[in-house]
């Protein structure tokens, strides 16, 4: 019996592994999530079924009630939450996981009180589980508050955070050591450790900029993984152990990757300070622009129905026409409809874009002139601007004051989403600001058009 259950648990672990594996590639991600979920379901069932070493009176009612309650809350809240608020949600969930770890370790610790001799290894593990769980708990909650803008970086500050944190950390470790070495002492010492841990969770997150919260959450997630693993040791359950470790490990590397993605080191994220500015949204004057990574851009296009490419002088400068054609072809091969919107004055001479695109052997039938383009754009998912500026400047439509007011432009804001590739925020020929860049529908993809495009092509290929 138990042997089979053990096998079942093994199966669950394998499901976790496969799940994670699949979660890391767009084509299989959804499946991966289901795998993991299945594994979890299996593990839970087995946990209910497995015969306990020392009998025990099961209390199935309590458990089932709790599980039911949890499931309902989980489902509902996840349905309710807005797409944009997802990360916050994740962070809360993670916190709860941590809390769960705390709860059970507390019970364990109290149990130890009643035993005459406490196995040292088990004791220390439990204490660590509690510690880690606690940090994950309060940390995640604060992360959530920050993400949700409920707590403002500038409002909530602590002096010399690094010092404070180190001190707290030291205190906690000391506490754990003390507790394990003289388990005879009254239980509340354990709770003191717990208390400090909870505080530490807060002080750990406080100094980190709101924009860096995703990284923090990922880190805390790894922590709660570890907590799970530790608990696994306590209950010597391989599922918990391996599952926890997997999360711990992958969570850690994921955190690192996230930092790399916004080219910073994990360390300078944690000691915080200059969080924010360099990432996500960048401020220029009062308005802010939002950048997008090539791979996100690739997904966006790769999974869209229709894309319109808007070439401009920048494409000419970086001689990116062949790459543009590449992108067109690979998108088409994914069933995306791709066309080019040619503005009559794009470039620096009449027909500039025509010459270049013809050179890249782009079919004439894919070229839309101003009028057709503006009709097509309304039903376009993604409009990709390759080094164009003036010809897509909404000011020509909206801003009576603008020197180009009245000039017909490609109204790409009709598209669901716009991406602008250029090297900087510099202006174009007409030398005027372009509100498009700051529009919330728009994402900036900085860099030389040729490079950016070839990266993009590679990424789209990866979508598989």
């Amino acid at each position: 019996m138990t042997g089979l259950i053990e096998l079942g648990n093994l199966a669950a672990v394998i499901l976790f592994i496969l799940g994670l594996k699949r979660l890391s590639s767009p084509a299989t991600a959804r499946q991966g999530n289901l795998f993991a979920a299945a594994g979890m379901g299996l593990a839970i069932v087995l946990a209910l079924a497995i015969p306990l070493p020392d009998g025990g009176d099961n209390n199935y009612l309590w458990i089932l009630a709790a599980l039911a309650l949890g499931s309902v809350i989980g489902i509902v809240s996840s349905k309710r939450v807005a797409m944009t608020a997802m990360p916050q949600m994740v962070s809360i969930f993670n916190g709860l996981g941590g809390a769960c770890a705390v709860a059970i370790s507390v019970v364990e610790l109290m149990k130890y009180q009643t035993m005459e001799s406490v196995p040292m290894g088990e004791h220390v593990t439990t204490l660590f589980a509690m510690f880690v769980g606690a940090v994950a708990f309060t940390g995640s909650i604060l992360a959530y508050l920050k993400l949700d803008g409920k707590v403002n970086d500038n409002k909530l500050k602590i002096p010399a955070p690094t010092v404070v944190n180190m001190t707290l950390l030291a205190a906690i470790l000391a506490g754990i050591a003390f507790r394990t070495l003289m388990p005879g002492e009254p239980i509340y010492w354990a709770f003191v450790v717990m208390g400090i841990s909870l505080i530490y969770g807060v002080t750990f997150v406080v100094p980190i900029g709101g924009a860096d919260m995703p990284v923090v959450i990922s880190l805390l997630n790894a922590l709660s993984g570890v907590a799970g693993a530790l608990a696994g040791v306590v209950y010597d359950s391989q599922v918990m152990l391996v599952g926890g470790i997997l999360v711990g490990a992958s969570g850690t590397i994921l955190t690192v990757l996230m930092c790399e993605a916004m080219n910073r080191s994990l360390w300078n994220v944690i000691v915080g300070g200059f969080g924010g500015s360099t990432t996500g949204a960048a401020a220029s004057g009062d308005q802010t622009i939002t950048e997008i990574s090539t791979s996100d851009a690739a997904i966006l296009m790769g999974y869209s129905e229709s894309v319109v490419i808007v070439p401009g002088y920048g494409m000419a400068v970086s001689k990116a026409q062949n790459e543009a054609h590449e992108l067109e072809k690979i998108l088409e091969s994914r069933g995306v409809r791709v066309r080019y919107a040619i503005h009559p004055v794009a470039g620096r001479m009449p027909g500039h874009m025509n010459v270049l695109l013809a050179e890249a052997d782009v079919s004439y039938d894919k070229l839309l002139d101003l009028e057709d383009a503006n009709n097509a754009l309304a039903s376009t998912d993604v409009a990709v601007v390759i080094g164009a500026n003036d010809v897509v400047n909404p000011a020509a439509k909206e801003d009576k004051g603008s020197p180009i007011y009245g000039m017909p432009i490609l109204d790409i804001l009709q598209a669901r989403q716009t991406i602008v590739m250029k090297r900087s925020m510099r202006s174009g020929y007409a030398g005027i600001e372009n509100p498009l860049f700051y529009h919330q529908k728009n994402r900036m993809l900085f860099g030389d058009a040729k490079d950016t495009l070839s990266k993009l092509v590679a990424e789209v290929k990866n979508l598989g």
């Binding site: 989980g74 507390v106 019970v107 709660s224 996100d296």
Partner: protein, 102 residues
């Protein structure tokens, strides 16, 4: 020191499991594209909900009159379950966009 050596020898296999699992953890997602960072995080977060197993075993093993433990365990189960179920559900929603068009 000596204690450590003892320990090592005792749990060597366990340690292998750890090491292998860790390496696997790293290996598995080493090539994840940026777009998947958040879903992946959310997904693995859901997995980190395994602690619920602990909570379950705990509740099962305590006496049915030890209400403190029971209620704590109950809370544990609930929270853990939220983490698990909610986590997977949210992840699933995040991944909607990857539905293959045919």
């Amino acid at each position: 020191m000596d204690f450590l050596a003892e320990f090592l020898q005792a749990n060597m296999t366990m340690i292998y499991v750890l090491i292998l699992a860790i390496y696997l953890g790293l290996e598995l997602i080493s090539k994840v594209p940026t777009v998947l960072h958040t879903p992946l995080m959310s997904g693995s977060n859901a997995i980190s909900g395994v602690v619920v197993i602990g909570a379950i075993i705990l509740v099962r093993s305590v006496e049915s009159n030890d209400y403190l433990a029971l209620s704590l365990g109950f809370v544990g189960c609930t929270l853990g379950m939220i983490n698990v179920v909610g986590g997977h559900a949210v992840t699933n929603r995040m991944l909607e966009m990857f539905k293959k068009r045919k």
